[in-house]
Point group: C2
Chain length 284, copies 2
C-alpha cells in the first residue's frame, strides 16, 4: 500500500442511489451507520479515535459518503464541538488515524466545506438547499443546480541533465523543498498547465510531460495531478511572489532530502504528499 494519504477509501459511493431520498433515509437509520463531524479543517475526535455518533438534531443536513463492504453507511455533517475538534493535517502527519479513515475524512472535509461556503446561488443570490445526499445544491428561486467543486492542480518534478528542480515557498518549514505546483485554468490541458506553471514560477522552459499519479488533497478540494516534466534548459528566473527559492539538485542530493539526511539540513516532501511520489518517480 502506498504511504500517500487520502487515497485508500474503502467506500462504495453508491452514486446511483443518492437522488433517492427514501433510500438515503433508510441508510441513515441503519443501526451501524457512522457520522463524521467536520468544522473547517477540523474533525471531531473522541478519546483519540474518530467520533462517529449521529448529530444531535435529526434536521442536520447530512452528506452521504458511501458504504463500506458489508454495508456500513458513512455520513458527514458540519458542526463544532468545543474541545473535541482536531485539525486534519496534524492527524495525517501524526498517524493517529488509519489510512482508510483519513481517506474518508478527505471526502467528508471537501464536501462539508463546499456546503459551508456555498449556501447561496451564484447565479441569482438566493438561498440554496442541499440535495442528492450532498452532491448537489438546488436554487428554488431560479432553478439553478450547483455541484461540488474539484479543483485540478498540476504538481511536477522537473528534470534536466540528471538534476531535479525543486522550489520552496516562504511560508514552509525551514529547509523544506518540494515539487512545483499550481492550479489548472479553464481551456488548458494537463501538459500545458505543467509547462505554464513551471515557466511562471521558475522561468524554466519544459518539453515532454509524463503522468505519474493523482491524489485528492482536501485543503479544501484539490485534485493533485502528479507529473514529471523534462526541461529544455536549466536557467532559473524566480517569481519571488510565488517562491522564495528554486534550485536544481543532484539525484544524490534529492535522495538524501527525501530521507531527511541531507548535510545542509534541507529536506523534501513527506511520503503522505504526492510531491514525494513524483520526486521519487523522477529518481527511478
Amino acid at each position: 500500500m502506498t504511504p500517500m494519504a487520502f487515497v485508500h477509501s474503502p467506500l462504495d459511493r453508491k452514486a446511483n442511489h443518492r437522488s433517492d431520498a427514501g433510500w438515503l433515509q433508510q441508510r441513515r437509520a441503519a443501526r451501524n451507520a457512522k457520522f463524521i463531524q467536520v468544522h473547517g479543517d477540523a474533525v471531531r475526535m473522541q478519546e483519540g479515535k474518530l467520533a462517529v455518533a449521529a448529530p444531535a438534531s435529526a434536521e442536520t443536513p447530512l452528506v452521504f459518503l458511501g458504504e463500506e463492504a458489508g454495508g456500513t453507511p458513512w455520513f458527514a455533517f458540519a458542526g463544532n464541538s468545543e474541545g473535541e475538534m482536531q485539525a486534519l493535517r496534524p492527524l495525517m502527519v501524526g498517524g493517529a488515524l488509519a489510512p482508510a479513515e483519513l481517506s474518508i475524512l478527505a471526502q467528508a472535509r471537501s464536501l462539508v466545506h463546499w456546503h459551508e461556503k456555498h449556501g447561496f446561488c451564484a447565479a441569482c443570490g438566493q438561498k440554496t438547499e442541499m440535495s442528492d445526499g450532498g452532491y448537489r445544491r438546488h436554487c428554488a428561486a431560479c432553478g439553478a443546480d450547483h455541484f461540488p467543486r474539484t479543483d485540478p492542480v498540476v504538481i511536477m518534478a522537473v528534470q534536466h541533465g540528471g538534476n531535479i528542480l525543486l522550489g520552496r515557498q516562504k511560508a514552509w518549514a525551514p529547509g523544506m523543498y518540494s515539487a512545483i505546483a499550481g492550479f489548472m485554468e479553464p481551456g488548458e490541458t494537463i501538459e500545458q498547465a505543467v509547462a505554464r506553471e513551471v515557466l511562471e514560477e521558475t522561468g524554466v522552459v519544459t518539453g515532454a510531460v509524463r503522468y505519474v499519479a493523482s491524489q485528492p488533497w482536501p485543503f479544501p478540494s484539490s485534485l493533485m495531478i502528479g507529473c514529471i516534466a523534462e526541461a529544455v534548459a536549466s536557467q532559473i528566473t524566480l517569481d519571488e511572489k510565488e517562491l522564495e527559492n528554486a534550485r536544481w539538485f543532484s539525484r544524490a542530493d534529492v535522495r538524501l532530502m527525501l530521507d531527511h539526511k541531507h548535510p545542509e539540513g534541507i529536506h523534501a516532501s513527506h511520503p503522505w504528499a504526492i510531491a514525494h511520489t513524483v520526486i521519487s518517480a523522477a529518481l527511478q
Copy 2:
C-alpha cells in the same frame, strides 16, 4: 499535430501580470488587441471568420486570455449580436476555424460562461465583481474570493481479452458509440474515479488504469482526463439512466467504427474528441 480540438492554444496567459490593472489597461489599448464576443455556447463571427472587434462600450468587463508570440493580446467578453452568433460545436465540426482559434475560443467560452453564471457570492448572496483580468470574482460584502471552475472528467476505453467496451447515450446520434465518462468527485483519485464510473454505468469491474492524454472541453468547463482501464471480468449490468447500451467490440470492429466503415452502420467518436484518442490508444 493531433486533430484533437481545443489543445492548440498559441497564447501565453501572462498569469503573473493579470492582477496589475494598469498593465491590463495598456494591453487593452494596444492597436493590435483582439476581442472575442461570446454568448452561451455561441461566438460572434463575421463573413465566416472570427470577429475580433472591441466591445462598443469601454465599460464592458473583459477577460484577458493571453498574448500571441509577437505581442498580440486577446480578450473575451459576454454579449449577444443578433444574426452574427454561431454555436461553437458546429464550428468545431465544420472546420471553419483554425485549431489555434478553436483553442482560444475554448478558454474564452469557459471563462465568460463562468462569469455569466456567477454574478453573486455563493458564501453570502451579494453581488460580486470581476477582478484579475477575469480569473477572480471578489465579494465586497463579505470579502470572499471566487475562482473559475475547471471540472475534471474521466473518460476511458475499457479493455478485456482483446475487446473494447464502449457505450452510447440515448441523446447521441444514431449508431454512435463512445468511451465511458463521468465527472470526478471530491476525495477520489483519477484511478478511483475511472473504476467508479465504469462500475456505475456498466457494472464492469476494472483493475489497472493508464493515463493517455487530456483535453479541455468547454461545454462549459470540463477537463477531460483520458485513460485506458483493464477490466477483470466482462459481465455488463447497464445503468439505463446513464446509458442506452454498452457493448464489447472486437478491435477489428472498433477500427471500422473509428473509420465510419462498420457494416452495422455504427461508428465511434470523431477525432476532435479525446474519446477518439483514448479508443485509438487502446488499439495500439
